[in-house]
């Protein structure tokens, strides 16, 4: 393996601008193509990594040892082997292949991980919400939980300087900004199994 492995057209944490992502033994860096500050992550802070399909292409999600997740989108499917080696050899981490549910169902199980909430459909994640993006939660009704997201004011979507949008800005990164999500969580009382019907 070369001393540095480099990938172009990578988006960091839903950045508007793509950049160059470079991996080395001591960590990784991302620099916006149009210039600007370089984001770096030390190898010692890499706690795990996941590979899955995202919007621009394939995503490497890095679970940081201290807190939070880093999302790098825009990889090609064939980059997997190369990246898998990088994570194994340099960071002693397994690049876990996470296939997401594509069924289109709105029911499953909301599970609380270390850094994010995962909504699983048939034991596959449908989507994840990093806790850092949540600005408020409240009980909106019986069995109903409302989760609000930070979308900065000022009219313009965030992340346009190309740098990492940072805490509480991923929801506002796209043309459609997610402001709220509501969940129905049933009570713990037992129900007749027949009620839901069988497949």
């Amino acid at each position: 393996m070369a001393a540095i492995e480099s990938f172009d057209n990578i988006y960091l944490d839903l950045s508007r601008e793509h950049g160059k992502c470079r991996f080395a033994e001591n960590g990784l860096g991302w620099k916006p193509a149009g210039g600007g500050d370089t984001f770096t992550l030390d190898a010692s802070n890499i706690g795990g990594a996941q590979w899955s399909r995202a919007a621009k292409g394939y995503e490497v999600k890095i679970l940081q040892r201290n807190t939070g997740v880093i999302q790098l989108d825009g990889f090609q499917q064939e980059d997997y082997e190369r990246l898998s080696k990088i994570f194994k050899n340099w960071y002693s981490a397994n690049l876990e292949n996470k296939e997401h549910s594509l069924r289109g169902w709105n029911w499953g199980k909301a599970e609380f991980g270390k850094a994010e909430l995962t909504f699983n459909v048939q034991n596959r994640p449908a989507f994840e919400i990093p806790y850092s993006e949540i600005s408020n939660t409240n009980l909106a009704g019986r069995n109903e939980i409302a989760v609000e997201f930070s979308v900065a004011d000022g009219g313009k979507p965030n992340g346009q300087n190309g740098a990492t949008p940072g805490k509480g800005r991923k929801a506002a990164a796209g043309r459609d900004q997610l402001t709220e999500m509501r969940f129905y969580i049933p009570g713990t009382t037992t129900r007749k199994e027949a009620e839901g019907g069988e497949a």
Partner: protein, 136 residues
């Protein structure tokens, strides 16, 4: 049936089988209506998430200052509307996504999306009704 309680079989439906079936437009991280697959693809934290039209109750647009909001409501228990057998529930202990709200400065676009979702829903309901009529 005799008890007046009909336990309908849950009809399986599926938006996509493989991730290469997503419309190319999901790249832009915006809401995408995929007519062909009767699916709305919604961007959640950088990931395109499909929701089949059968899970959707309705969509509505509202305005607040410069912003327009699009709220998409999904079918879920305890809403007091619709018959139980029309709801695609497989598991009574499941958690549900009940609604997602997006905002944008482009109100016309949200009016158009809400309209498209309503039309798609109407078509799906009509198709389902025709199927039922055939069975009767």
């Amino acid at each position: 049936d005799k008890n007046g309680v009909e336990v309908k079989k849950f009809k399986r439906f599926e938006s996509y089988k493989r991730d290469n079936q997503f419309p190319p437009k999901v790249r832009d991280m915006g809401i995408v209506i995929d007519q062909k697959n009767a699916t709305i693809v919604l961007p959640v934290m950088g990931r395109p998430v499909p929701f089949h039209i059968n899970t959707i109750k309705n969509a509505s647009k509202s305005d607040e200052g410069d912003w327009s909001f699009l709220r998409i409501n999904f079918l879920s228990p305890g809403q007091g509307v619709g018959r139980k057998d029309e709801q695609p529930f497989e598991d009574a202990s499941a958690h549900f996504v009940r609604s997602l709200t997006f905002r944008s400065m482009d109100g016309d676009r949200y009016a158009d999306i809400a309209n498209q979702i309503s039309n798609l829903k109407r078509e799906a309901v009509k198709k389902e009704q025709e199927k039922k009529d055939m069975e009767d």
